[in-house]
């Protein structure tokens, strides 16, 4: 199962209700966003004058850039498939991709608030809520982003942004199910905002007419992976060592030394 969201920009009228409903549902700080609407144009495109919207949110990517950069402790986490009851145990840091529903989630209580994940995301879908300091961890805040409203979905409700959308322009469902509405849109040509350099399996898809899609993709497709990605590669290489170190109870020290080194390299 892979949850995904299609936004039909033919229908979207750019009313911003999705962004505000989300703020209310999840107590997002007024100046931060789990989702957003950028107003695009009017501007010329190869298909004529266009004006449309970029309603964005976390794309719960297949290869999320945010997950491997998380420097929090690695733990064994057991996931349960809501349908079959099957379980799977994975080694995860404070942010991970759920092996059963494909969503990318954050363990808030273990988040250090360092913001590495927010830096790594080419879609800018994460922020650090600096009002949420975890004193036990000495955190800087807590990373936050769209959860695809999993707590609502698990109760049989729609994501808050989908429920409030007057245009029914937001379609949520399982991209692995060929009969789902999102899959139907995918077959009709709904596509993600991906480029040569940013191609990490975004599960946020957009559908619209030629001119609107031209404007959306030209203005809103990330073209480069954020620099933090360099660090991601290094971190990924070092992680086995990290795990070993942690088991020896030395995580903090080794981690800090390793990262400090990398940072100085960059500067």
């Amino acid at each position: 199962m892979q949850y995904g969201m299609v936004i039909d920009i033919k229908k979207c009228v750019g009313c911003h209700a999705c962004t505000i409903a989300c703020k209310a549902e999840w107590e997002v700080p007024a100046d931060k966003d789990r989702n957003w609407v950028h107003r695009l144009g009017p501007d010329n495109t190869p298909h004529g004058l266009a004006s449309t919207y970029y309603p964005g949110l976390c794309n719960h990517c297949n290869e999320p850039a945010c997950v491997p950069v998380c420097p929090a402790d690695i733990i064994q986490k057991t996931f349960t498939d809501k349908k079959s009851g099957k379980t799977k145990t994975l080694e995860v840091a404070a942010t991970y991709k759920d092996p059963f529903n494909g969503t990318v989630q954050i363990d808030k209580e273990r988040c250090l608030g360092c913001g590495a994940c927010a830096d790594a995301c080419p879609y800018n879908a994460r922020y650090v809520n600096e009002n949420q300091i975890n004193e036990e961890l000495g955190s800087e805040g807590t990373a936050d982003k769209c959860t695809y409203c999993m707590p609502r979905v698990e109760m049989g409700l729609e994501p808050a942004c989908v429920q409030t959308c007057l245009a029914r322009a937001r379609i949520f469902g399982d991209l692995d199910d060929p009969n789902s509405e999102v899959s139907r849109y995918k077959k009709m040509g709904a596509k993600s905002l991906s480029s040569v350099n940013v191609n990490i399996g975004s599960n946020g898809l957009y559908y619209g007419n030629k001119r609107d899609m031209a404007l959306l993709t030209a203005t809103s497709t990330p073209q480069v992976m954020p620099e933090a990605n360099m660090r991601r590669i290094l971190m990924a290489k070092m992680k086995p060592g990290f795990n070993k170190a942690k088991k020896l109870g030395m995580l903090g020290l080794v981690g800090a030394v390793a990262m400090k080194g990398m940072k100085e390299d960059k500067e």
Binding site: G14, K23, E27, G41, N44, L251, K263
Partner: protein
């Protein structure tokens, strides 16, 4: 993206954390989303309050509230609603932040400073009510009831408005919703098709949707927008006439970039062409039309060539659009518009829209002008009419024969400032912010300065409250009973149903906020009208009104806030429907009997015509302090044509002031939006920004107040309503 300070601090804390974090392999976690103080719970398990009716705008969608403890966490569309359904717009969602706005009025206040430069002193309700009653009574005794004027807005203003109009007996009441907005539409359609049209076009089932300046999407009313979108989904062709490539123009099949002010000419040219082509609905006109021959002759001068030249629209496009309308008639939605007080020639334009409906026979059939048939029986409760009836100024003077109810705003302002025909010395402002709704702010200030007494009742410290002597904090729409909302299912072709719902509080009013019935009754008692009081409290009023339909608040709550009942097919044309193509009565008053284009002033050299419109996150100027909405669109960029910007060396994001042709400079700056999506002769900005009251800590200083730049007055001669798009500005780099 480089590591910032936060990352650096992480490195320090990571080291510190090492000492206290337990060994990793002893940590276990449950599957699913972990619950912690850092994981918000969502509102799913919160208590659901039914009976909410939104008033972030006048459309008034049906709500439920999610309440945790005593706190409203979230608003949602009422799942039982057959109007908005579970959807609400951005503003509706942001009602929570109006409720808890830290700048909201909390206590009765007395101005111990100057009007316009207030110093506020908290006083008791008794003192506040005593003062209001004493001052209003003094004006009434000295100058008569007509010495009191009122500027009301919204559901809560209806009860006090009736008190002043009916019982005290002043005709000097001016509603912005009429005189600066839709009044012209309503009276022009009354004089054309015999009924005010509302926004009752069956767009969901139309083959063509025609909008003159309609910018659905920037202008959002949920069930209305649902109709529009359903129509597009069903394949309706969309024609949008607008000098700007608006949210709707962006979805349109035809964007007609008309020269501002010439819309009536465009309508006449298209109607003449349709008649010349013999494509008008002769059977409908024969049966329902009045004065068609005179009308036909009157508009014959509007050839395609003349129309194209006047409107600066290609002749081919005019023909194409007219053909599209005629070829798809009668299943065509000619949208009557809503905010139509544009140029001071607006009555005639609104008449032309009504005539187009008649010409196409686009009334009563699917996809055309159709009024839903809502439930009957909801009773009325109101203040009794007094014995002394005073004629309104325009009636006494025999002017503005098609004025909407109330008195044209400028007559009140002029009388107050000049003392003629009589003095107006007390001003009651209830839910309206005349500073940002009425053109020429200086005149409004002059009017207020000469008053013996000014009182304001509001939820927020809007600009006008700076001029109050007494300022009263009102319960918001989320904290009181009142408005009864009735109607039908949103898609007129759907299963025919009717609904009745009444506003109920989501939470109790905090601080010392009071509702309109309490405030009005207490003032009435103190003014000697205690025996005329119709109800003692709001719930009583609502129950009395609902009783007419066999309902009560208790019954509505038991029905999840909305009563549903079988409906009536709304389609069909009444035999006695008359369409006045030529209306001789209008000529009797000295105005054109057939719709006539009256040219507007040309743009002076070096200037742009200032156009304004709606932002989807703001309602008028009422929402500018809402933190959630403010964050969504913190200012109102001024749109300028890309070629003109190049000439002026302006680029996207430049910060500018606007200066109008009378030398008035905007208080604040905004950013420039350079786009090919606007004509060269105008600039555009969203209305509802730039409050000057520093007590609005979020909205103050954010964006430009377009109303401050609208100083040249245009008054529509038939109606007395303002035209607000006859002002011209320059952009000056900040």
């Amino acid at each position: 993206m480089a590591f910032n300070l936060t990352r650096r601090k992480f490195l320090q804390t990571a080291t510190l954390a090492a000492a206290s974090v337990p060994l990793a392999n002893v940590v276990t976690a449950q599957a699913g989303v972990a619950k912690s103080p850092f994981t918000p719970s969502g509102t799913m398990a919160d208590k659901t309050m039914v009976g909410g009716i939104c008033e972030m705008c006048f459309w008034r969608c049906q709500l439920v509230g999610k309440v945790r403890g005593n706190k409203l966490m979230k608003l949602e569309g009422n799942p039982k609603s057959i109007d908005n359904g579970q959807s609400i717009c951005a503003r509706g969602n942001a009602g929570v932040q109006l409720l808890y706005d830290r700048d909201r009025l909390k206590y009765p206040m007395k101005n111990v400073g100057q009007r316009g430069a207030p110093k506020w002193k908290r006083i008791s309700w008794d003192e506040a009510l005593d003062t209001c009653a004493k001052k209003l009574k003094a004006t009434e005794q000295k100058f008569g009831a007509k010495g009191i004027c009122m500027f009301p807005h919204g559901a809560s203003a209806k009860y006090p408005m009736q008190y002043l109009e009916h019982t005290v007996g002043t005709p000097n009441v001016s509603e912005a919703s009429f005189f600066q907005c839709r009044g012209i539409r309503d009276t022009a359609f009354l004089a054309t098709i015999g009924t005010p049209p509302g926004e009752n076009v069956d767009m969901a089932n139309a083959k063509v949707i025609f909008g003159l300046g309609c910018h659905f999407g920037e202008n959002v009313h949920v069930s209305h927008t649902k109709r529009y979108l359903k129509g597009l989904e069903n394949g309706a062709k969309l024609i949008i006439v607008d000098p700007r490539f608006s949210a709707s123009a962006a979805k349109a099949d035809e964007w007609v970039a008309v020269k501002p002010g010439t819309d009536t000419a465009l309508m006449l040219g298209m109607m003449n062409y349709i008649i010349q082509q013999g494509k008008h609905n002769k059977a409908f006109i024969d049966k329902h039309g009045i004065g068609f021959a005179e009308f036909k002759e009157s508009i014959a001068e509007w050839t395609i060539e003349k129309t194209a030249q006047t409107c600066d629209v290609p002749a081919d496009q005019i023909k194409r659009v007219a053909d599209l309308l005629a070829d798809n008639a009668p299943n065509v939605s000619i949208h009557p518009g809503r905010h139509v007080s544009w140029h001071g020639n607006d009555f005639q334009r609104q008449r032309s829209l009504g005539c187009m409906m008649g010409l196409l026979g686009a009334m009563g059939v699917k996809g055309s002008f159709v009024k839903g048939k809502g439930p009957k029986g909801v009773g009325k409760v109101g203040w009794p009419k007094g014995e002394h009836h005073v004629e309104a100024m325009h009636v006494a003077a025999g002017i503005y024969p098609y004025s909407p109810p109330g008195t044209p705003t400028d007559l009140i302002r002029d009388a107050a400032i000049t003392g003629a025909p009589y003095p107006i010395k007390s001003c009651v402002i209830w839910g309206q912010n005349p500073i940002q709704t009425i053109p020429n702010q200086q005149k409004t200030i002059d009017m207020l300065k000469q008053m013996d007494f000014v009182m304001c009742v509001d939820v927020m410290p809007t600009d006008i409250t700076m001029y109050a002597d007494i300022l009263l904090p009102e319960a918001s729409y989320l904290e009181r009973y009142d408005f009864i909302k009735t109607g039908t299912q949103w898609d007129l072709s759907g299963k025919q149903q009717q609904y009745i719902s009444a506003r109920m509080p989501m939470v109790m009013a905090d601080f010392e906020r009071k509702d309109q019935v309490y405030i009005t009754n207490e003032i009435a008692k103190r003014m000697g009208y205690g025996d005329k009081i119709p109800v003692s409290a709001l719930p009583e009023m609502v129950d009395m009104q609902l009783a007419g339909a066999g309902l009560s608040i208790a019954k509505l709550i038991a029905e999840d806030g909305i009563h549903l009942q079988p409906g009536i097919d709304p389609y069909g044309v009444a035999d006695d429907l008359l369409v006045y193509f030529n209306n001789a009565e209008i000529a009797d008053y000295g105005y054109p009997a057939s719709p006539t284009y009256i040219a507007v002033e040309e743009v002076p050299a070096g200037h742009f015509r200032l156009l304004y419109g709606r932002s989807p996150v703001h309602t008028f100027n009422r929402t500018q302090n809402n933190v959630w909405l403010h964050h969504a669109m913190p200012e109102n960029p001024v749109w300028i044509n890309d070629e003109m910007a190049k000439e002026l060396s302006l680029v996207n994001g430049d910060r500018v002031y606007c200066v109008n042709s009378e030398g008035v400079k905007s208080r604040n700056t905004t950013i420039v939006k350079v786009t090919p999506g606007i004509r060269k002769d105008c600039v555009y900005m969203a209305h509802g920004y730039g409050t000057k009251n520093p007590a609005m800590s979020v909205g103050a200083g954010a964006g430009i107040d377009d109303q401050a730049l609208i100083t040249i007055l245009a008054v529509d001669p038939e109606t007395g309503c303002h035209g607000m798009r006859n002002n011209f500005v320059k952009l000056v780099k900040a």
